[in-house]
């Protein structure tokens, strides 16, 4: 920072007060009364220039009074002339833009981040013994330990600078400046500055802050702009990866949508590679026209159950920091679905769950057995049974019902459906079954099926872009209205409010109760494409559901995590390594692409991080206005490849406090004004002895 800066700028706004003497002068001039006098001859004889001298003295006094107020106000404003005078104690915060764009090539062939770090090193080397410095990264990087606050330890600063590495994220300029200012404010040094090293990408630095920070007194901001080399090569950003929203059955192939955008002006020929956690890899060649967005569908297979991840990389373009994405999904084992009854009791449900019955296509293997045998074999899997089996058996003591209750209590899932042929049983049901069907009803014109619990996970595959569940006008002609108590949850209903699908918890298990037989005679639902997705969603295990896997853009803050002092452990599963352990409140963000497990107490979450697509945008601030810095006092200079910032910093670090000189000037004005305003009596002419005063003759 060079030039003049006022540490107390409030006093500068009072500078118009310096005009007060002029106003007073005019006021008193009007008030001054004239006295008639017989002759001015004696005054002119005394000094022919008496009037001229007096006028000159008056104007001088006026000028001195104006200057006096001016100097006092300026002294109170504590002006500091940076770039001149002596080197005093300084507090310097080095703010390095380590966002994805900084990994691009700068002039001279080195990455912009390298140039930034070297510039910062120059400044660290130029620091005096009494100076303090701190380091702030635009994208917080848990892998790069920074000194806490300002330090005089140059070696610690150099080690921290050595650890600064490229990221693939976008940082918040406002947050970084805020961190830097909090560091600066903790210092009592008169000379305080933030040294910013950045390529000034428009995307980040061109946006004005929402809440512009008030600059601390004496703060100067020096922005060292690192120019970006122009290669002329196209740049393709990996903008989004769309994974299945529900667990993937192990062994089953599933599609993944990868969205790419060509941000460059030329046609791009790139290859999209993928690598999964099992070491399987593949790729696809893609061609993108300038400014074109394109979707690539990649077919993947989850070979084993459990958390799985895939790393996507775009190869063949100019800029690497926006080319990667890591995503995670849950693989579940092939599940058995046991139908307790005859195949005809379940309508279209068995083929919807498993067209071949062996699980090859859907990962669900279906089998049929009698309800009576359920008590003896006690097999695993999802159980589907008709209402008749529950209501006909009736008595609590029957072995089948007891086996079903225990199955649910242990965490099993079951679905009760009416037989397409109709209900033959009575009203008797076990006490633990709180949902009860009423008598069958029919509607010749059909009633529309409506969603009652839109947030339910069984609808995840049916949501459109806006998140709305699309059932596509399903009409219901026959149904069993369900009586659903308060502790049970309605899921589907009819347009007249009748509930036809609900769930109730039984122990750790879940029981779904349907009032619809999945048969075209009952409703048009089995004829709709949504039926397969809905049926499979009801059956599949929700453990490790996508809701527990968070997708993040690198550099974005992680939300939904409890802060405070709870111990958080971040474990790297794939992609860029990051192993971190500490209080959860201190964890900042994921700066690079990868899949990470977050262990907080007993809870585990997974995060898939992709690179920030906007880091590839090649628009940089070329002028001297950096909107993101708001009203901070800053200056912008260009940092070329071989240029050192040290001479400039040395010059900037010098400062001259002008308050004292201004106060001395003010006192001088005061003394001079006092001398002029109270002149001594006029001296008699040299050699002329004073005559006898004239009195009455």
């Amino acid at each position: 920072m060079t030039g003049l800066t006022a540490l107390n700028p409030l006093f500068l706004s009072l500078l118009p007060l310096a005009a007060l003497p002029v106003l007073f002068h005019l006021f008193f001039r009007l008030k001054r009364q004239s006295r008639p006098f017989s002759t001015l001859m004696f005054f002119h004889r005394l000094d022919p220039k008496l009037n001229a001298r007096r006028r000159l003295r008056e104007w001088l006094i006026l000028l001195l009074r104006v200057l006096l107020i001016l100097f006092v106000l300026l002294a109170l404003a504590r002006p500091v002339w940076f770039g001149h005078g002596q080197t005093g104690e300084a507090a310097v915060v080095l703010l390095i833009d380590n966002s994805g764009s900084a990994s691009g090539t700068g002039e001279g062939g080195r990455t912009k981040l390298k140039q930034a770090v070297e510039g910062a090193r120059d400044i660290v080397a130029a620091l005096g013994d009494s100076d303090r410095a701190g380091l702030v990264l635009l994208v917080p990087d848990p892998a790069a330990p920074l000194p806490g606050g300002l330090t005089q330890d140059k070696s610690a600063l150099k080690i921290a600078l050595d650890a600064v590495a490229e990221t693939e994220g976008s940082g918040s300029v406002a947050a970084a400046v805020d961190r830097a200012m909090r560091m600066i404010e903790a210092s009592a040094a008169a000379h305080r500055e933030i040294q910013i090293f950045s390529d000034l990408q428009q995307e980040k630095w061109g946006q004005p802050p929402v809440n512009p920070p008030a600059p601390p007194r004496g703060l100067g901001v020096a922005v060292h702009r690192i120019a970006t080399a122009s290669t002329g090569l196209p740049n393709v950003s990996l903008t989004e990866v769309e994974m299945p929203t529900r667990p993937v059955v192990a062994g089953r192939r599933f599609p993944v949508q990868v969205r790419l955008a060509n941000l460059g002006p030329g046609k791009a020929q790139v290859r999209l590679n993928w690598l999964d956690d099992a070491g399987n890899r593949g790729g696809a060649d893609l061609s993108l026209a300038p400014q074109e967005e394109s979707n690539a569908t990649i077919s993947l297979t989850a070979l084993n159950p459990g958390l799985r991840w895939v790393l996507f990389t775009v190869e063949g373009d100019d800029f690497p920091a926006d080319n990667r994405a890591a995503t995670a999904f849950t693989g579940v084992e092939q599940q058995a679905v046991r139908f307790l009854g005859r195949a005809g009791d379940f309508g279209y449900l068995p083929p919807a769950l498993s067209p071949t019955g062996d699980g090859r296509l859907s990962g669900l293997a279906t089998s049929f057995s009698s309800f009576d045998s359920f008590a003896s074999d006690r097999g695993e899997g999802f159980v589907v049974l008709p209402w008749n089996a529950v209501l006909e058996s009736g008595a609590e003591a029957t072995a089948g019902l007891e086996a079903l209750r225990q199955f649910l209590m242990k965490g099993g899932k079951a679905l009760l459906v009416p037989s397409p042929g109709g209900m033959a049983g009575g009203e008797r049901k076990p006490d633990w079954l709180t949902i009860a069907p009423e008598g069958p009803q029919a509607s010749s014109n059909g009633l529309a099926l409506t969603v009652l619990d839109k947030a339910n996970a069984i609808f995840d595959d049916l949501r459109d872009e806006k998140g709305e569940v699309a059932l596509r006008n399903v009409k219901v002609f026959r149904f069993l209205p369900l009586r659903v108590p308060a502790q049970a949850a309605p899921i589907l209903g009819l347009e007249d409010g009748t509930i036809v699908l609900a769930s109730q918890k039984v122990g750790r298990g879940l029981l779904l109760a349907s009032g619809l037989a999945f048969d075209p005679a009952w409703s048009t639902l089995p004829l709709k494409p949504a039926f397969v997705a809905l049926a499979q969603s009801m059956v599949l295990d929700q453990e490790g559901a996508p809701g527990r896997i968070t997708s993040l853009v690198a550099g974005e803050p992680l939300t939904g995590m409890p802060g405070g002092a709870d111990s958080l452990e971040v474990q790297s599963l794939g992609g860029s390594p990051l192993d971190w352990k500490g209080p959860a409140g201190q964890f900042t963000t994921f700066p690079r692409v990868g899949v990470y497990a977050l262990h907080l107490g007993q809870e585990t979450r997974w995060v898939g991080v992709r690179s920030s697509a906007k880091e590839g945008r090649r628009k940089f601030i070329t002028g001297n206005t950096v909107a993101a810095l708001g009203n901070l006092p800053y200056s912008v200079d260009n940092l070329s490849g071989s240029q050192s910032v040290r001479p400039q910093f040395d010059r900037q670090e010098r400062s001259l406090e002008l308050s004292l000189p201004l106060l001395l000037l003010a006192f001088s004005c005061l003394a001079l004004e006092g001398w002029l305003a109270n002149p001594p009596p006029m001296k008699l002419q040299a050699g002329a002895p004073p005559l006898r005063p004239v009195s009455s003759p």
Binding site: R32, Q33, S34, R35, P36, F37, S38, T39, L40, M41, F42, F43, R45, L46, L50, N51, R54, R55, P679, P680, P681, M682, K683, L684, A688, P690, L691, R692, P693, V694, S695, S696, P697
Partner: protein, 295 residues
């Protein structure tokens, strides 16, 4: 004396000046026999000197007693006594209206003096005239020897309104040229002009054989500044303004006034003119008694 109650000659003043007299140190010419010496030597009772008889002299003037003792023909000469013709020359310029510390304005004070002096002159069988001037002679009254003749001049004094800028030297030159016979010229003015010009005017009068009496009435505030702080002074005659820090110039001002008065005094002395500085803080009667009671 039965004078009417004029403004500047009230009965009290007329009564107080009774008995005062005014004399001249050098001979003056008068039309009647009076108290004052005449430049003409003749048949008077006061012996002057002798001179040798010259053909043409009346033989009756030969002092035969001298001839008997010294065998020389000499003529005995006597100093002729004559009455006084006095011209009061009164400054009526704007500066005369100033009054700050005095009992009267300088103009009023001068008028009192003039009226009293005219009364004194007539009381001793002299003649008194009056001339008013500022930048030139404005009014002029020839000397009169009677109280009735004094009346127009006293009325003229009543009518004076000080105005204009004074040109004392010019007025004195005009007066010198105007008065034919040797007379007493009484100049009453504040003389607030450069002394050199005033002295030249007085010398002109003296050159014309006139006796000159200078009376300079000044206000006390003119002699020493009587105010403090900053004031804007406005000159009465010109309207010129001058801001003055009184405390700063007080001493130097007083010194300058003293120097100026000394120049006037020395100038008058050098011109054989009688000079009196009069402070208007002093009552008129006291001034008259102080200046004219020796006679």
């Amino acid at each position: 004396m039965s004078a009417p109650a004029y403004k500047f000659l009230p009965p009290e003043l007329a009564e107080r000046v009774r008995g005062l007299g005014l004399a001249v140190r050098r001979p003056v010419e008068g039309a009647m026999q009076g108290l004052h010496r005449s430049p003409h030597l003749g048949s008077s009772v006061e012996f002057a000197d002798y001179r040798e008889y010259a053909p043409g002299d009346p033989p009756s003037l030969i002092d035969w007693a001298i001839y008997a003792r010294s065998d020389r023909h000499v003529i005995r000469r006597y100093q002729e006594e004559t009455n006084l013709r006095a011209h009061l020359v009164l400054d009526i310029s704007e500066s005369m209206s100033f009054r700050q510390a005095g009992l009267h304005s300088k103009m009023d004070y001068a008028c009192y003096l003039a009226a009293a002096l005219m009364l004194i002159l007539l009381g001793q069988s002299d003649a008194a005239g009056l001339t008013l001037f500022n930048d030139e002679i404005r009014r002029s009254f020839p000397p009169v020897g009677s109280f009735d003749g004094l009346r127009p001049m006293l009325l003229a004094l009543d009518e004076i309104k000080p105005s204009g800028r004074s040109q004392i030297e010019e007025a004195l030159h005009q007066t010198a040229e105007k008065i034919q016979r040797r007379s007493l010229v009484i100049l009453i003015s504040d003389l607030l002009q450069e002394p050199a010009g005033i002295i030249r005017g007085i010398q002109h009068l003296r050159h014309n054989k006139h006796e000159v009496l200078v009376l300079q009435p000044l206000d006390g505030a003119e002699l020493s500044l009587d105010f403090s702080g900053l004031a804007e002074l406005r000159e009465l005659e010109t309207g010129a303004r001058l801001p003055v820090e009184a405390d700063q110039v007080r001493e130097a001002y007083a010194n300058e006034v003293a120097k100026y008065l000394e120049e006037i005094r020395r100038g008058c002395l050098g011109s054989m003119a009688e000079y009196h500085l009069i402070d208007t803080r002093t009552p008129v009667e006291e001034t008259l008694h102080a200046k004219f009671s020796q006679l």
